[in-house]
């Protein structure tokens, strides 16, 4: 796999927790400005994959190549203390230099960058409010600004659409789409429901059984591709504009996709 233009490239990555394999030889690559959805059911290894890319988890085998530069990250299910005296503006500013030691005097340039980022994500109206007291959608915007303020080459978001209402979901997806182009960042966003994302994403990485298939959405989300990935027959149905993946026959729990098919990262054009 060539990694010359990739912002991140995974090659045959495997992660095991104790005796339990979570990811098996996952391979895909992401380039600048690509907006990619990481789809899979709960427990399929999406968070593990993102944490492996971040370097939080050691991979047992394979390699992860990342281009230089910052990585922006919005974690899953973050609970912000409503008592913490920290405004939305402060959270974004911490994204700029929160990991640096030592004291730092306020500067106009720094304040301008924070203000510009608050504006970019539409968070100016609640910038002075305590971040723990904001709604879920507002917090997502603030965390997004926190992740983007250093202008990362790669933005990883773990289930950012969970617990959002339909309106907020659509707004966040549109915002991410716009910002990935505006900032030239590759975006990898995990979700268990692909429907809000499919109209917006350039690519899909679909995880099941610890294996991955990646490519354009139309090429990945197909009956024959996902059946091969799951290791048993599934139907991909389109109902009222929504995609539904349905297991069409009993699941064979005794054999894994790896055992059934040694080529478990399925190349899709």
């Amino acid at each position: 796999m060539s990694t010359s233009e990739a912002v991140v490239a995974l090659e045959r990555v495997a992660v095991t927790f104790g005796e339990r394999p979570v990811l098996r030889e996952v391979s895909f690559r992401l380039e600048a400005e690509q907006f990619c959805a990481l789809i899979g059911t709960n427990g399929s290894g999406k968070t593990t994959l993102l944490r492996a890319i971040l370097g939080f988890i050691r991979v047992q085998s394979g390699r992860i190549d990342r281009a230089g530069g910052a990585i922006g990250y919005v974690p899953q299910k973050i609970i912000l203390d409503p008592g913490l005296p920290l405004r939305a503006r402060d959270v974004v500013a911490l994204g700029l230099d929160g990991a640096r030691f030592g004291t730092r005097l306020p500067s106009k340039e720094r304040a301008a960058r924070v203000q510009a980022m608050l504006r970019a994500v539409g968070a100016e109206n609640f910038a002075e409010q305590r971040v723990g007291a904001l709604s879920g959608g507002q917090q997502q915007r603030v965390l997004l600004a926190h992740a983007l303020v250093r202008r990362p080459k790669l933005l990883l978001l773990d289930e950012p659409l969970a617990n959002l209402d339909v309106g907020s979901t659509a707004e966040i997806v549109a915002l991410l789409r716009r910002l990935s182009h505006e900032f030239g960042a590759a975006v990898l966003l995990s979700a268990h429901d692909m429907n809000p994302l499919l109209p917006a994403v350039d690519r899909v990485v679909y995880l099941a059984n610890g294996c991955a298939v990646s490519g354009k959405a139309d090429a990945v989300v197909r009956t024959e591709v996902l059946s091969r990935l799951y290791g048993y027959h599934v139907d991909v149905l389109r109902v009222h504009g929504r995609v539904v993946v349905v297991a069409a026959e009993a699941r064979d729990e005794s054999r894994t996709a790896l055992e059934r098919d040694p080529v478990h990262t399925i190349p899709v054009p």
Binding site: L54, F56, I71, G72, Y73, P75, I78, L80, D81, P82, G83, L84, P85, L86, R87, D90, V91, L94, G95, D97, G98, A99, R100, F101, G102, T103, R104, E128, Q129, R130, V131, A133, L143, H146, A147
Partner: protein, 261 residues
Amino acid sequence: MLHAWVVATLVAVTAGCVGFFVVARRAAFAAHALPLGAFPGAAAASLMGVNLFWGLAGFSALGVLVIGQLQRAGRREIASALWLSGALALGVLLLSLSGRYAQSVYGLLFGDLLGIDTTQMVVVAACSGLTVALVAWVARPLLLDSLSSELASAAGARAAALEFAFLGILALATAIAVPVVGALLVFSLMVGPSSAARAFTDRPWRALAIAVGMCLATVWSAIALAYLTNWPVGFFVGVLSALCYVVGRLRGGTAALAHVT
């Protein structure tokens, strides 16, 4: 008396700076366990006839190591509780061996502010300056880590190292404050004013400054009231710290205060 005012001022500034992060990181129990866990250190120093500070500092450092190691396998509260119970048991044994049981226990648990000499004042001044400098050095990563360890790690900070640094700072603050306000009351001085300060502002560094101001008001008032009434300083420190918390609640910070621990 001058020594008491100077040392109380230094301890208040240190407690306010450290207390802000104790509350932000929901580490109130660790702030309780470390000073009490340093109790056998003071008892050992008393037994050997050396300065109590070194015994406190040694056992505070040991507490940091033990809690740091134990919490890798579980939660901070459990690690703190295990350390606390073991250290208290050892402290009781060492105090009984020293032959000065009642007097030593009282001094260690409630402090002896009026018994501070010039040497102790110099040590407290140096350690207080070091503690405040360390807090300033790690303040931003510590604040980001208090918001979310994952965000801090993604930004390049090492969450485990930050937690260790925080416990180290807490131990240093403890070693300074225990001879002054006592092992039982260090906790109240760190937690009461700092939790109340959260109700007065939405800005982090302003909240830290308010916490320091409240700690100063608490210890200065406590000394004055103790002088007027001849009651123990520690009593007034505890009561006034609790009063700070009540004032914070009345200020309307109910939501903020509910998340202290």
